[in-house]
Amino acid sequence: MNWLTDNKIPLGAWMENFVDWLVSAASGFFDLISIVLETMIVSMVDTIESVHPLIVIGIVLLGVWFLHRSIGLLIFITAALLFIINMGYWVETIQTLVLVVSATAISVLIGVPIGIAAAHRPWLYTILRPILDLMQTIPTFVYLIPTLILFGLGYVPGLISTIIFAIAAPIRLTYLGVSKVPNELLEAGLAFGCTKSKLLYKVELPAAMPNIMAGVTQCIMLSLSMVVIAALVGADGLGKPVVRALNTVNISQGFEAGIAIVLVAIMLDRICKSPSAKSEG
């Protein structure tokens, strides 16, 4: 037993060396990613902030009406956004939304192609599955430290951590959707002369669309659940006041920011859900 504890496997040291090596070998590369993403997010936040909040609400309502045509949803969104302005969290809400939307967009752009590739190659999914499990279960704080070292303080480490946590959803659901396309539809596609790419765009993706949309919705919700953790590494947004409230034991601030997060979550959920349910029918 002593032998076992005396000869400790240097797992932690290996990881540290690996991160050190990454920093020394590719710091320029990570700096570049960091600058590009940071500039993108900051400029988006600035653009939206520069517009009067009521105009932003108007645009959101127009979009929601176009998607859902539901008066009830419009009333709820108006009330929720006005309440957020009233609480004084408008800017933080914008920052959070931009972070969530960026994280989702990047996750979908990377995750959907990986999901498709995995559906076409069973061996790839065998490799991917444990990696996805690891990414979803490993405590977020563990990879928060290396991302912080690699990308510096700000939105970017929060964004990257969010993507690591949320990307499994679009990969898994795209894989599920594409691999369970009914065989007869594939046969029909081939029998009428589809090429491989036509088969993907005209048969497999449309057939898998309800699942892919469910993956996107899940991805948004998972991203939102990361706002408080992203705030720990310096990402602005609704997470910041929560963290600050925790540090200063400020009950009122904690509740106000918490309620704002809940409202954003409900709004995003209601906006996302219905279109995917519709395309299933």
Binding site: L185, E187, G193, T195, K198, A207, M209
Partner: protein, 396 residues
Amino acid sequence: MAVVTIENVDIVFGDNKAQTLPLMDKGHSRDQIIGMTGDVVGVQNASIEVNEGEICVLMGLSGSGKSTLLRAINGLNKIARGRCLVRDGDNMVDMAKCDEATLRHMRTHRVSMVFQSFALMPWLTVLENVAFGLEMQGMPKTERFIKAREQLKMVSLDQWADKKPDELSGGMRQRVGLARAFAMDTDVLLMDEPFSALDPLIRTQLQDELIELQKRLNKTIIFVSHDLDEALKIGTKIAIMESAKIIQEDTPEQIVLNPATEYVENFVAHTNPLNVLRGNSLMTPLSELAVQDSKVVMENGMWLELSDGKLTSIQNLEGEVPTVSWTPNMVLDNIPDNAIFIVPANIAMRDAVEIRYYSKHFMVLEENEKCVGILNDHNFYHALLGKHFGRDTEAA
């Protein structure tokens, strides 16, 4: 002229083809081979030739390999051995060995397919579904929608063009499937149990529609079915398959009259002969009747007067009995019921039974202006009881 030629085709599912094929040649059965190599023999040594305008029905129970063989014709199933040729202009293309581009050309311009479970894309409208194959042909959007609309009109679904498939009934969905296949203007149509998922009335209706369409379009159709009545109704040629092999290939009437094996005989015993059998296979031939000095004496006091094999009159003790020469589509209502019908020898059994319903008597069959036999109630009962086959063994 042959449009589709299948030559000694073997289809094997599995990864041990190199071991499986020699075992097949040694005559091991399908079940033995699964145990030995894990491979499943889909089709074994199938050969069949389908000519232009023919409807060839591949017939068998599920698992007999009929759908597997059908899918080899458009390359959905890979062939382990043998050739599967489909005509393309003046050439015959081997679907098993051609390259991707040729295969796609054959699928978009020569062979189209109708599926048992319809296989319509649920996210496309009916019109877009019909235009799906045309899109793959590379036809521009407006043109293909015009053409798709014409096809929908042909199957009388033009009112439903903008609906989604799940808003249609099963019969309507399969009509969309037919329209999608016909829209391609291919010479060859593959139909994989297209009507099996429909209820009996709709099935009969679509079979009739298919026969009507075929009269106009004259396609070469290969049709898979597990229902012998359906096969006999629409097929001009039937190939019966049992555990991966074709065991009999013949015209519908020959299948019913001369089943090759007990397996086929069991199938035939449960079919309705009315649509299949013809007078000359039902009749009592002249040679079995009592002929005396060119008189044929019937049991009920009548006799036929023949001269040189030709019927001159029918007599009974009171004098001559009126006769009527039957022609197809003749109106039978006004004909006196004591008349005796003279019918062509190849008359369909259904027509003969119809005539018997109006007339009191037997009928006389003629071929090339010569009397060849008579058809009476005994002949009908014989066929209806399924005793028409194995006649050779009975006589012996």
